[in-house]
Structures are given as C-alpha cells and as structure tokens.
C-alpha cells in the first residue's frame, strides 16, 4: 500500500454525515481521507431509529419539498446499487390529545401552504391505514414523503461508494491533532501519521467540540442521549413509520416514534437526556418508551423486546444545524448539530459541504446554520433540556 500523505479533503467523523461528505466530495473528483475513531457509524448513526422526516430543514430556512429529499435517497440507492433498506412508504403522524390535535391541524396547514403533500385523515381512514392504532389516537395525518432508511447500512453504503470513487476511509483511527498555520488548517494527525489537506471538515457529531478544539475552533454541540428498543413482530403489524406530534412547549422533548423494519422488527423510541457521552440503556427509559408506544399502538404489548440501546445526538443550543465555515480558519468546515434528523439531512449536508469546497458557496442560502451565530450571543448559553 502506497504511503498516502495528502488529500484535498480530510473528513473527521464516520457517521452518516461524514461519509456523505466523503461520497459527495469524491463524486466531484476531490481526493478524500475520512478518519473515524471507531468503526463506521459508532456514534448517533449507529443508534438511530433511521427515520426520514417529512419536512426538510428547519424554521430557519424555507422548507424544501420533502419529495426532493426522498429523491436524493432513491437516486443514491439506484446510482450505487446499494441496499440501504430504503422505505418510501411515507409517514403517519398522530395526536392523542386535544392540544396536540389542534397543533396538528395548524402544522398540516402550514406544510400544505409550502406545497408539501400531507393530509389529515378521518377516523375511518386512520383505522384503514393503520388498523393497530389505539382508539385514543384522535387525529392523524399522512404524507407519502419520508419513511425510513437503515442508518448503519446507509453509512456503510456511503463509505463504500466513496471508496469506489477513490476516497480513503480510515476506521479505528482517532484524529489526535489538527495542524494550523497562517489562518489555515494544513492537515490532520491520525493513527500516528500526518496527513496534509486542503480542506478539513469536522463532522464528528457529538464529538465536534473536542475535534474543534484541535483547531482552536469553538463548536458548541453537546451530546443529547436518546434510547430506543427493538421489538419482534410479524410483518404488517405496523405498516408505516408512526410519529406522535406534540404541541411545542417547555416540557416537550420529542415525541414517540414507532418504525417497522423490513426484517420483522419494530424499533420504538425515543428519549432525551443530557448525561455526557454515557450510552447505558436504562430501565427507566425502557419503561417510559414502553408506556408511550403502547399508548399509540396497544397491540405492541404482545410483542417481545429483544434489545435496548442508546446513542448521543449532537445538539446545539438553538437546536439548529451547523453547516458552516469557521471564522478563524479559511478552510475549516463544520457539519453537525443534526440532533434527531441526521439521516434525513445526511445526503443534502454532503451536497452542501461539497458545494462550499468546490464553488465557495451553496445553492441554497444557509445563513441560519452559521457557526458564528453562537459567538454573537455568547452570554448565558441556556442550552440543555428543551
């Protein structure tokens, strides 16, 4: 094997985001080295439920049509011939309280105004579309957009595709330093070697702060732990990914997700806590998830739990992404903060970061995702429980 000493792009982090960046950059002809401290998808990507949301982006940006994002996944799977267990059966969102139902109406209207295909279902339709939903579910909406993908397979697929395009993927290779000179990042140190790079991309998820420090760049993400459980089920028990929708509020830390896999299993979740990088699966969380998902689909109680695990999502204080350059360094990019919508935004993030490197700008304005927004309001960060 020849001694590789330099890349156009050094990507730090081997989850869905990092591998997507590696793939998209390699596709544009850039030489890429990706460095991951463990096996691929060992962070949030390895613990994720694998949901692909209906809506793409956030309140800081105009919502992109989810259809376009669906197409990104379909195209990727087709172009690369990779099986990522892509499910395009759409999503069902449910409400089981009057407050939440009110919010759902408002939410559906808002999305419809933006041209996103989603509609409310009447009671008869609800039972028809998902017979196992609880009678306590008083409202539901369905969109053909979104669905699921298997996040670990997606990560490996992106890495394989990147490799085929010439990228070098280094797993079990922690980055131990980033060399900086004259306002630029000049390379990374990893696995007792030094690699020169024209661009350095920090896509290390919940570990972005630590990686940022190597370059003297402050990246304020914190690990937000989420736990899920795996249940065994006959096919068709639950036909779509189901998410509970809740009126946003100070108590609200996310809804309940029930998502079928193609292998006769159902993944249910999630939870939210801030306990550093601990990923112990806790009994209290398991009980909480059990209660909430049985509330939505009572028949789940008949199934058995095979496994429960947790991962840490990268979360920023305002809950929005960071897809940005850094003020201190010309060529240091940060792509993180995806929190619970990493899979959904994995491909588009790869595209955008690649545009920043090859064109110096992005095809959609992403000012809302600048890293500098945190230095602007540095006093009294209150990030933590939403």
């Amino acid at each position: 094997m020849s001694e590789v000493t330099g890349f156009d792009v050094a990507v730090i982090g081997g989850g869905v985001i990092g591998t997507s960046i590696a793939y998209h950059a390699a596709k544009r002809g850039l030489s890429v080295g990706l460095f991951e401290k463990g096996p691929l998808a060992s962070g949030a990507s390895g613990a994720s439920l694998g949901l692909r949301s209906i809506w793409v982006w956030s309140h800081l940006l105009p919502l992109e049509s989810g259809l376009k994002n669906d197409q990104r996944f379909i195209d990727f799977a087709q172009e690369t011939g990779e099986d990522i267990e892509l499910d395009t059966s759409g999503r069902i969102i449910v409400a089981n309280s009057e407050d939440d139902l009110g919010y759902m109406h408002e939410f559906v209207e808002r999305l419809q105004k933006r041209g996103i295909e989603i509609r409310l279902l009447d009671q008869a339709e609800i039972r028809d579309v998902e017979p196992n939903l609880s009678p306590r579910v008083i409202g539901a909406a369905w969109s053909p957009i979104g669905g699921n993908a298997m996040p670990i397979k997606l990560t490996y697929a992106l890495a394989r595709a990147a490799r085929r395009l010439g990228a070098s993927i280094f797993t079990h290779t922690p980055v131990t330093g980033i060399d900086v000179a004259g306002g630029r990042a000049v390379g990374v140190r990893a696995g007792a070697k030094q690699y020169r790079a024209q661009w350095v991309v920090n896509a290390a998820g919940a570990w972005c702060a630590e990686i940022g420090q190597f370059a003297g760049v402050d990246v304020p993400v914190v690990p937000r732990k989420g736990q899920v459980m795996l249940l065994n089920a006959p096919p068709g028990f639950v036909r779509h990914g189901i998410a509970s929708l809740h009126k946003p509020g100070p108590q609200q830390t996310g809804g309940t997700n029930i998502r079928p896999t193609p292998h006769g299993q159902i993944i249910v979740g999630g939870t939210s806590e801030y306990s550093g990088f601990d990923t112990t699966a806790r009994e209290e969380n398991a009980r909480d998830i059990a209660r909430r998902c049985v509330d939505l689909v009572p028949a789940l109680a008949k199934l058995s739990v095979l496994r429960s695990w947790a991962g840490v999502r990268p979360r920023t204080s305002d809950g929005e992404f960071i897809i940005s350059g850094a003020e201190q360094l010309d060529n240091f990019l940060v792509a993180t903060g995806h929190d619970f919508v990493g899979v959904t935004h994995s491909l588009v993030t790869g595209e955008l970061i690649t545009e920043m490197m090859t064109e110096g700008k992005t095809s959609v304005p992403i000012d809302g995702f600048r890293l500098s927004r945190f230095t602007a309001s540095k006093s009294g960060q209150a990030h933590g429980a939403a």
Binding site: P39, K153, H263, R287, A290, A301, L303, S304, R307
Partner: protein, 467 residues
C-alpha cells in the same frame, strides 16, 4: 413494582448457584436464587416436571440422585428460589427480573452469577435440518421429559457427554448407530474426570465398556462432515480427521440415521457478567470468553462473584466447589462471617479445586476446539441461524473491510436475531479471527445490552401508580 431486598442474589439454580446458596445461608446471609426454568437443578440436575410421578428413582440415573441430595438440602435450608424468572438487566446490587409478564427487581449487597453454559454451536452443512440436535438438548429431553428425540441416532463431537448420552439413549431403546469422537484416542477415557476425582476414572472406562457391550461403535478420530435430508435428516456423511481435527480426504462414509447429536463441548453463558461490566479473558479451553476472578470467585467488580460453567466449563463437581467458595466469600464480604471463619470453611473446597484444577490442566487440550472444527463449513453454511447469515456472507463483509463483530452485525444482521447472538457469536469470533488474521481474543464479543433475554413488552408496563 415489587422489590426484594436480600443480602445475596444468585442467578442460576444449578449446582453452582445452589451450592453458593447453601453456604451463604448457613453463614447467616439472606439469599434469593432466581432461575429461568420451571424447577431448580440447572441442566445436569434437571428434574422431571412436577406433574410426573417418580416411580423408580434408580431408573433416573446417577445425576438425578446427586441432584436430589443437593435439592433436598436446599429445601431443608429454606432457601428461596424464584423459578420461571429471567434476569434481564443487571448492575452492582441490582437485578431486573421478569416472571411471565411481570417485572420486578432484586436489590442485594452481593451477586453470584452462576448462569451455566450451553452446547457449542458447530456449523456444518445440514446442521439446521430437523433431527440434528445438540447432545445437551437430546439428553435434557430424555432425562426430564422422558422422550427420545429419534430412533436411529448418530452422536458426534467430543467430550464425556456423548459417551453418557449414547448409553442413555441405548438403554431407552434407541438404535445408536455410532459415537464419533474427535479427541486423541489414547486419553479420552479420562475425560469423565472433568466431573470429579480419580474414582470416576472407572466411570469413563465403564461407559466405554457399556458401549462395547451394546455393540455401539466408538469411532475415534472420526467426525460428521454433513447432515443430509429433505425436511429432516436421513443420512450422515462422516470422515476421519487428523490431530488438528482436519478432514482426511477419501475417508468419507455415509450412515443412514434419523437423528444426529452434536456434542462438542460447552460455551459459558456470560451475558450477565459482560453486561454488568466484569473483565473477561478469552480461553478456548474453558469455552471462550470467561469472566476474570480471584481465587475466591470475585470478579473485577466488588461483591460480584461467578461460579460454575458460566465462568468456565469444568463440570458439575467443580461447579459445586466453586459455588461453595463464592457463597462463603460473599457472606464474608457482607460481614456475615469473619475472614478466619471463611478460611476455615472454604479450605476443603479450595483444596479440591486445586486438585481438580491439576487434572483439568492435563485434560484442557483434549476437548478444546482445534482449528479443523471451524473448517467444516462451506460458503453456504449458516453461521447465524436466526437471521440466516452464511460463511460466504461473512467473507464478503471481511473483503469490504470488516474487522470486528460490531461491523459484521448491522450489515449482515448476524447477531441481531432472537437468540441475541448466543449461537453465532462463538463461531464468528473464531471465523472472523481466521479471516482477518486476528487472534480470537482480539475480537471483542458483541456488546451486551438489556434485556439479556427477550421479555414481553407488557412486562415493562408495570404501573408506577402504586409507588
């Protein structure tokens, strides 16, 4: 939710767990034993169901008799045993239990993990055919349920179990076609010593003599190559092996059988000891990954002890001595007895263990898997039975750069099925090691997460309202 607070919680009501319970109780500790089965006894002392009436104990065999002595002592001592209970999560001082659809917990000062072992899975062509069973499974069926798994039986593998089982099957009326034994012919009669002192040497020779009397061929240096049949097994292809258990081409023969017993030694059940975070080491002679412990069975986690086959396969007599030491040591650590009293009470067990350990050291190489064992598979042979992942699938993943079990798992689904990686794990460690040039000990086992056994979701729905 129901909480039981005791001094010592013991997982597993086999010889090790029950021995630990007896000693700890006698030393003044409050003890609670839990076991997933309907009745205590573990595997070797497995009892017939309560609903069966025992009419002639002598016909139930020597192990039943030894087991009765232990079980009667446990009853006499008033030791609490919760059966039909799976431990699904564990932390120092805490066990999450599930009985049916009810989850409850134990809080204890100390824990003894005595979870036993299970038959080593040995993938080979046709091993998933109905009629191909583990020797342990066939013996349990016969011993406890009094049912013959089949009529025309071939036993293959290595170890004392097959010798015993072949005789038991013949006595029960089965036609035992042959016993194929992998281990070095010269020494294998000594294997029953794994179960005890020299006096049992006569047992081993006795089993061999019985086979000869029954005209059951004991074919040393032979093994099963393939199980054949449609819908169930109807024939076995066998062949001779060299000292590394590798097939000698051209020696193949075929037997007509309807039942094959795979008896290749045991693998310790270490799910709980790994989940709680004990340090482990890889020792193939003991069955694979086993928890580290000091002379007194305490692991790297204070007040967590291990005993019996679950900490390294060594048979029931060793298990009982280890259980006694663990129970006494736990009692001492809990302040129930002083160190001098511990030393006095544990002396004879420790001495016996030393003696048995010497024999084991001699015999360790005998039944420990040799390289040829993992070369039975073809690319089409399944390694993960639950998710139907073959050797060929694993080879492909390694070609694409997988070097760890955690990298195989999500891509192939190996280890993601109902058995929670118990069946594929031991083989994958060896196979992955072979394919990537890593020693098996370099390959970390699948990470252990709760629940350790599948539990009904309903069990997690216990209302907290009563708090």
């Amino acid at each position: 939710m129901r909480t039981e607070r005791v001094d010592l919680a013991i997982v597993g009501a086999g010889p090790a767990g029950l021995s630990a319970a007896l000693e700890a109780k006698a030393a003044g500790a409050e003890v609670l034993v839990v076991d997933e089965n309907d009745r205590p006894g573990g595997q070797i002392f497995r009892q017939p169901p309560r609903a069966f009436r025992i009419e002639d104990r002598a016909k139930l065999g020597r192990d039943h008799k030894r087991g009765r002595a232990l079980l009667d002592a446990v009853t006499a001592a008033g030791i609490g045993i919760e059966t039909n209970t799976a431990v699904w999560n564990i932390a120092p001082g805490h066990l999450a239990c599930c009985s049916g659809e009810t989850s409850w917990e134990i809080q204890s000062g100390a824990i003894v993990i005595a979870t036993g072992a299970y038959d080593r899975p040995v993938p080979l062509p046709g091993w998933t055919l109905p009629g191909v069973f583990t020797s342990g499974g066939v013996q349990t069926l016969l011993k406890s349920q009094r049912v013959l798994a089949g009529r025309r039986v071939l036993l293959t593998g290595t170890g004392p179990l097959n010798l015993v089982l072949a005789n038991q099957l013949a006595e029960a009326g089965a036609d035992v076609v042959a016993v194929l034994e992998l281990a070095d012919p010269g020494l294998f009669e000594l294997m029953p010593m794994l179960r005890g002192p020299w006096s049992l040497l006569s047992d081993g020779i006795g089993y061999v003599r019985q086979l000869r009397r029954r005209k059951i061929p004991l074919m040393r240096g032979w093994t099963l190559i393939e199980a054949r049949g449609t819908g169930q097994v109807t024939s076995a292809v066998i062949g001779q092996v060299d000292r590394d258990w590798r097939l000698i081409k051209g020696t193949e023969r075929t037997f007509d059988v309807d039942t094959i017993c795979l008896g290749y030694g045991l693998v310790p059940s270490t799910e709980l000891s790994r989940l709680i975070g004990c340090e482990h080491r890889y020792d193939i002679a003991l069955g694979g990954w086993v928890p580290n412990h000091d002379l007194y069975r305490e692991t790297s986690i204070a007040n967590v002890f291990v005993a019996g086959d679950g900490s390294g396969v060594a048979g029931s007599l060793v298990a009982m001595e280890e259980g006694r030491v663990a129970g006494l040591r736990a009692a001492m650590r809990l302040g129930k007895i002083s160190e001098p009293v511990f030393t006095e009470k544990s002396a004879s067990s420790l001495q016996r263990l030393r003696r048995l350990g010497r024999f084991r050291a001699i015999l360790d190489g005998l039944s420990a898997p040799r390289p040829g064992l993992f070369e039975r598979m073809t690319d089409d042979t399944l390694i993960c039975r639950c998710e139907e992942v073959s050797l060929g699938d694993c080879r492909q993943a390694v070609k694409e750069g997988a070097v760890s079990l955690m990298e195989l798992k999500p891509r192939l689904r190996a280890g993601m099925g109902m058995c929670q990686a118990r069946i594929c794990g031991p083989t994958l460690i060896e196979v992955l090691g072979g394919l990537t040039g890593q020693a098996p000990e370099a390959i970390k086992p699948f990470s252990q997460r709760p629940p350790v056994k599948p539990i009904p979701l309903a069990a997690l729905l216990d209302s907290e309202a009563a708090e």
